[in-house]
Amino acid sequence: MNASTYIARAPSQHGLRVVGIGQLVISQDPSETIVTYGLGSCLGVTAYDRLARVGGLVHVQLPLTPAQTDEAERWPAKFVESGVALLFREMYAKGARKERVELRVAGGARTTGESVDEVFEIGRRNVVALKKVLWQNGVMIRAHDLAGTTSRTLSIRIEDGMVVLATPGTSRPLGGDLSCP
């Protein structure tokens, strides 16, 4: 992984922008949908500002530890804390306002076998790290689908902020209050 490509710049194919592990995409193109696949223990965090009509998605992998601050400077989207901070900074740069941003989150699944104690799982630690950074910055989660054991796909449609969560065999809007007609 080339850390300098943490903002995925791949051209969209049929309006689809794909976000890999440790990557982020922000868009104001209403024809685009941003998607990330294979959310196991990782977290997919979507953000949307309805008025500025800007949306973003970051796929973060690990909580940040003091030993990794140098790596987080080179590859911020890899870590929960720096990835979420980057997401908000990029959203603000496109005109979003914190009080209008809607966050929808998925992932944090358990991926190891029964022999590993659940409380030490990376997915669970990612969720705690996310809640901490959001609490410290006074931001709520609008909707979420977290934990469990399933792999998830998360997408956000820039036209209207609709967020869709897919798991093997199912697909549904995530937090259908304001995003869905």
Partner: protein, 138 residues
């Protein structure tokens, strides 16, 4: 749920939800060092107490984490934070061991419980540890 598992689960839950701290391991014995202690008594179909001990440096760090980095730490005494953690942990231990019956919890006491220890759990975190003990169940 067994007593040690209930203590561990309650500590992990309280620390994750109130303090955003993730457990890193369990230990059989508490590390050395001074602590601030608190205990909460419970009365009902069974009676006893749950005590907790946390190093003061850890309590200071936990309080600071409740506000954004760079902001002055909140005006919260370490004794208040440990007392509330004792309240939350006791309130989550009791139903896990004894079921969801009516129990009365005492306000937290800033001392270790005096009854004999019946079960002990030590949970390790990045910036310290928490010991939770179950006392004198009758």
């Amino acid at each position: 749920m067994g007593e040690i598992d209930a203590l561990r689960t309650a500590v992990v839950l309280a620390m994750e939800r109130l303090c955003f701290a993730s457990a890193e391991g369990f230990a059989d014995e508490r590390p050395s060092g001074s602590t601030i202690d608190a205990s909460v008594a419970f009365t009902g179909p069974s009676s006893g107490a749950v005590g907790i001990s946390i190093p003061n440096e850890m309590l200071i760090a936990l309080a600071a984490d409740l506000v954004p980095p760079g902001e002055p730490p909140p005006d919260i005494a370490s004794t208040d934070l440990v007392a509330e953690l004792a309240n939350i942990i006791c309130g989550n231990v009791v139903p896990r061991i004894f079921g969801r019956q009516v129990y009365a919890l005492s306000p937290p006491d800033l001392h270790a419980a005096s009854q004999p220890v019946q079960a002990r759990a030590v949970v390790m975190f990045g910036n310290g540890w928490v010991e939770a003990t179950l006392h004198g169940v009758s």
